[in-house]
């Protein structure tokens, strides 16, 4: 009997459901890339599960022809934990948004990451509440005017990747909905990583927050406002690749190449660095002062919760033998009557 997987196409991963996102929403592009990546992973289709919370992005599982669960607001990582802990052979994806993942579900996100559960978490960051029609979100910038912040948001925003690294994530990456090649490659890297992969995707909500990432997606500006990270390479950006990032003590600074500054003076990207401080520093490079890095910030190996848990079960079975009900019943002091 052949154990070879059937050859699948992206279209095999499309479910029969009508997609209900607004026309022009960035979610379409992420869905398309995800369907493209799926057949390349070497994982049987039936072993893939998508779990989401609540929000526009969280409709995602309905559109994938895999197993899926559209759960409750913010809790997707917790559902994924129960599933992955008891079925470690499944490939589990968590789809969340900035409100779902960082506001109501912040606690679960933090704990899934620190446990390094072997799941892939994709956070669609559109910096707004879309499904509830346009209230500011935990990633909305200060001063953002929305229906619930008519005089401007006064809540200091959260930065998803800084949080992920604070939780000692083993894989952290960023991509952009319209940068489809980069997005596809990033999703694939995330899928291949063992442990929690956390990916932030800049996603445009063209209805309630159109242009939130314009600086990072506009042809005219994007090479100056974003910086593609490559492992082992210096941090260079700009249309003419003539600008770089140099470390000045513990502070990064933008420098012009030439004029006495060579590539060797720049900060070199090391996604495998055990110490996460440099990766954290990269997450703090923000528009407009810095180009915002995209790509893989960090990819290190750490023990995985699901593997450790199942390892303990295995070890207990090895040392004690498969549990017997008789032994469990008669533990401790017993006595006989009659």
């Amino acid at each position: 009997m052949s154990t070879e997987l059937p050859v699948l196409k992206a279209s095999d991963f499309a479910s029969d459901q009508d997609i209900r996102w607004c026309p022009g929403c960035g979610d379409y592009s992420i869905l398309a890339q995800m369907k493209k990546v799926m057949p390349t992973l070497g994982v049987p289709q039936e072993n893939i599960v998508f779990i989401s919370g609540i929000g526009c992005s969280s409709r995602f599982p309905y559109y994938m022809n895999t197993y899926g669960m559209h759960s409750i607001h913010g809790r997707a990582p917790a559902f994924a934990t129960g599933l992955k802990a008891s079925r470690p052979e499944l490939m589990v994806w968590v789809i969340t948004g900035d409100g779902d993942g960082l506001s109501i579900g912040g606690n679960h996100l933090m704990h899934a990451i620190r446990r390094n559960l072997d799941v892939n978490i994709v956070l669609f960051n559109n910096r707004i509440y879309g499904l509830t029609k346009g209230q500011y979100s935990p990633t909305s910038p200060l001063g953002k005017v929305t229906k619930t912040s008519p005089m401007g948001a006064i809540d200091n925003p959260l930065h998803p990747l800084s949080i992920a690294i604070g939780c000692e994530a083993s894989f952290v990456a960023r991509s952009i909905d319209v940068n489809i090649k980069h997005l596809g490659a990033t999703l694939k890297r995330a899928a291949e990583h063992k442990g929690t992969s956390f990916i932030e995707v800049y996603q445009n909500c063209n209805v309630f927050n159109d242009g939130a990432w314009k600086y990072a997606t506009d042809k005219a500006t994007k090479s100056d406002t974003t910086l593609e990270l490559e492992h082992g390479k210096p941090l260079i950006f700009g249309k003419d690749r003539d600008k770089g990032i140099r470390l000045n003590g513990l502070v990064p600074e933008v420098v012009d190449l030439g004029k006495g500054i060579s590539e060797d003076d720049l900060l070199f990207h090391d996604e495998k660095a055990e110490e996460p401080s440099l990766a954290y520093l990269l997450t703090r490079m923000r528009n407009p002062d810095f180009p915002e890095p995209i790509g893989v910030f960090r990819a290190v190996d750490r023990p995985m919760y699901d593997e450790e848990l199942n390892g303990q079960v295995e070890r207990a079975r090895e040392t004690k033998g498969e549990g017997k009900l008789e032994d469990m019943f008669t533990a401790g002091e017993t006595w006989t009557v009659g």
Binding site: M69, G82, K84
Partner: protein
């Protein structure tokens, strides 16, 4: 001279008695729970029926010597079968003035009162708020058999040769000295406790020596001092023949779940967050990894239940355990479990509420919460075990129903059952009925599309597991279309789905036993109880029956749905009395369901019912 089995020989008079209720009371650092547990074990091994009631403060170490810090453990052991830890104490051991002050009212007149007189010093008296030393009060000696024992001094002397250097460490053996004395008083064997000391403190020779010395010194003190003129003997109870073990409710629940998993060919997953009085289930289940048990100590109550649902989706026997405040947090997710129609157990070990309430005290006030505490129309089956050992069986029944009907089942226990213990007749594994759970197999070429919300004769939907080729489907909290499970906002479909889910829960009644009755099936009064009040209800009903009253007792286990004969049963009695440790929650449900105007007996003091309280109410109603 006669001796009881395994008991220490004594030269003093032995007075046979049918039963005794003893309470150890002291500071929460005094090891009273341990003392109580040891007396329980040795009494159970001596063949008595036993029932226990641990009672401890919410603070781990309230200020030493204060009233708030008093911890107690009550045990009732008898030569007949008993169902409660006893209304009144026959003997009280008070290790300090605070313990005396908070417990004396429960000691019957003429009862035995053992106090550590060393602890009745100025500081101890002040902390307990005594202006005078109560031990000097003549009334105390007149009302009770008072034994002033220098427990601290005796202990320090006893452990002198054991190598213990600090006085603090020496004083930690006081509970063993008190135990030794009480063991002598009731002719109990020291053997089980000596074995316990050996295993518990393995490798710590000094502690083994010291505790052993304290225990035997206590026993010898009883035997040799003139103060104690006689000891007591409680003969073996006429328990059903078999192999026994003493078991606490939460332990029984944990091993009942492991058993249910094993019998159904599943592996157990527990998602839980520590909360009193449910945490001991999480602790206990951690011992059974070699049964394939996976425990997940979640970041919070919500994650605990969500991980449970995730594991249920994957095909595990999934459960979550908590208490009222945690169940409140889980409400939204339980509703999701309900609409996903996945099997799982949601365990609530009730404690005093509302809010944080009385964490370490018992109450039955979460019945409404578990019946109705979710948004939307979301009925679920609900089972309430009635005693510590019943938790073992209730867990298995709950899992059978959950899988047969594809529905989360609420299991409602309480702190009294959870921490209380009783002898459990260990079942023969061969007698336990295993059962299979079907999962739809991989789809074959040409099969019609998989329908995740199609239903069998029990209205259960198929439990298709991720990993099964061809059955890929999506589930979620949005209303489902009948059959396909696709998202549907269709008005008629919503009505249909809500009615179907409710009908399914109602159908569970076909799989649960008819309501049994203690006594006649008709009469003047039916005592209708549920959950942990079982022992008090049975005992009170029996006593009423002995007085010739036409009283019967029915104790509900399944509250949702009710047994199908309950309505006719209620109609066969002139009056119905519902004793509950809440303000009348079952009574309200019974009233709305059956238009039955029952009499309530309601107590919310963080304490179980005394038999007398129920008996008085029965007599008031029909006497």
């Amino acid at each position: 001279m006669s001796t009881t089995t395994g008991a220490s020989p004594t030269s003093k008079e032995i007075v046979p008695i049918p039963a005794a209720t003893v309470r150890f009371a002291g500071d929460s650092g005094d090891g009273m729970q341990l003392a109580g547990t040891q007396l329980t074990t040795t009494s159970a091994l001596a063949g008595n029926d036993v029932a226990t009631f641990p009672d401890y403060p919410a603070e781990i170490r309230a200020p030493r010597g204060t009233l708030a810090g008093v911890s107690g453990f009550q045990i009732h052991f008898a030569s007949t079968d008993i169902f409660t830890p006893g209304d009144h104490l026959d003997a009280l051991v008070a290790m300090n003035p605070a313990a005396l002050k908070t417990n004396l009212a429960d000691l019957r007149k003429g009862g035995i009162l053992v106090v550590d007189e060393d602890a009745f010093n100025k500081k101890g008296l002040e902390k307990a708020g005594y202006e005078q030393n109560p031990l000097n009060d003549l009334a105390l000696e007149e009302e009770y058999q008072l034994f002033k024992v220098p427990i601290t001094t005796l202990t320090r002397g006893a452990v002198e040769d054991s190598g213990i250097t600090s006085q603090k460490d020496a004083d930690r053996c006081r509970n063993f000295l008190a135990m030794g004395l009480i063991f002598w008083l009731y002719g109990r064997s020291l053997e089980p406790t000596l074995r316990f000391i050996e295993t518990k403190f393995k490798g710590k020779e000094t502690i083994i020596k010291a505790n052993t010395a304290a225990l035997t010194t206590g026993r010898n003190y009883g035997e040799t001092t003139d103060a104690f003129k006689s000891s007591y003997q409680v003969n073996k109870a006429d328990l059903e023949p078999g192999h026994y073990r003493n078991i606490q409710g939460n332990t029984a629940l944990a091993i009942g779940c492991v058993t249910a998993a094993k019998l159904s060919g599943k592996e157990l997953f527990l998602g839980s967050y520590p909360i009193t009085p449910a945490s001991t289930i999480l602790e206990e289940l951690n011992k059974y990894k070699h049964f394939g048990v996976r425990t997940f100590q979640a970041e919070d109550e919500i994650a605990a239940v969500c991980s449970t649902i995730g594991a249920a989706f994957g095909g595990a026997m999934a459960m979550t355990t908590s208490s009222g405040p945690g169940i409140a947090l889980k409400g939204e997710a339980i509703g999701l479990g309900m609409i996903l129609e996945l099997p799982m157990l949601i365990v609530n070990i009730q404690r005093g509420g509302p809010s944080t309430g009385l964490p370490t005290k018992t109450e039955q006030s979460d019945l409404f919460q578990c019946m109705y505490g979710r948004n939307g129309e979301s009925p679920l089956p609900l089972i309430a075990p009635r005693s510590p050992s019943d938790c073992f069986y209730a867990a298995q029944e709950a899992w059978r129903i959950a899988t047969k009907y594809m529905v989360p089942v609420m299991l409602l226990s309480d702190g009294y059952i959870a921490n209380g213990s009783e002898p459990w007749k260990i079942p023969d594994v061969a007698d336990l009925e295993s059962f299979t759970i079907d999962h739809p197999p991989a789809a074959k070429e040409g099969d019609p599309p998989f329908m995740p919300y199609s239903r069998d004769e029990n209205l259960a939907r198929p439990w298709a597991l991720p990993g099964t080729p061809g059955l890929m489907h999506r589930i979620g909290g949005l209303e489902k279309q009948d059959q396909t499970g696709n998202v549907s906002y269709d008005p008629q479909n919503h009505q249909n789905m809500i009615e179907t889910r409710a009908r399914k829960v109602a159908k569970v009644a076909e799989s649960i036993p008819q309501q049994e009755v203690l006594g006649e099936t008709s009469g003047d009064l039916l005592v209708l109880g549920w959950g942990g009040t079982y022992g008090a209800c049975v005992t009170a009903t029996r006593q009423a029956q002995e007085r010739g009253l036409k009283v019967s007792h029915a104790h509900l286990r399944w509250i949702s749905p009710f047994p199908s004969n309950l309505k006719s049963l209620l109609e066969s009695f002139d009056k119905v009395l519902i004793p509950e440790l809440n303000m009348g929650q079952l009574r309200t449900i019974i009233a709305s369901e059956f238009l039955c105007d029952a009499i309530g007996l309601n107590k919310v003091q963080g304490k179980p019912f005394a038999v007398q309280e129920i008996l008085d109410k029965i007599i008031e109603a029909v006497g």
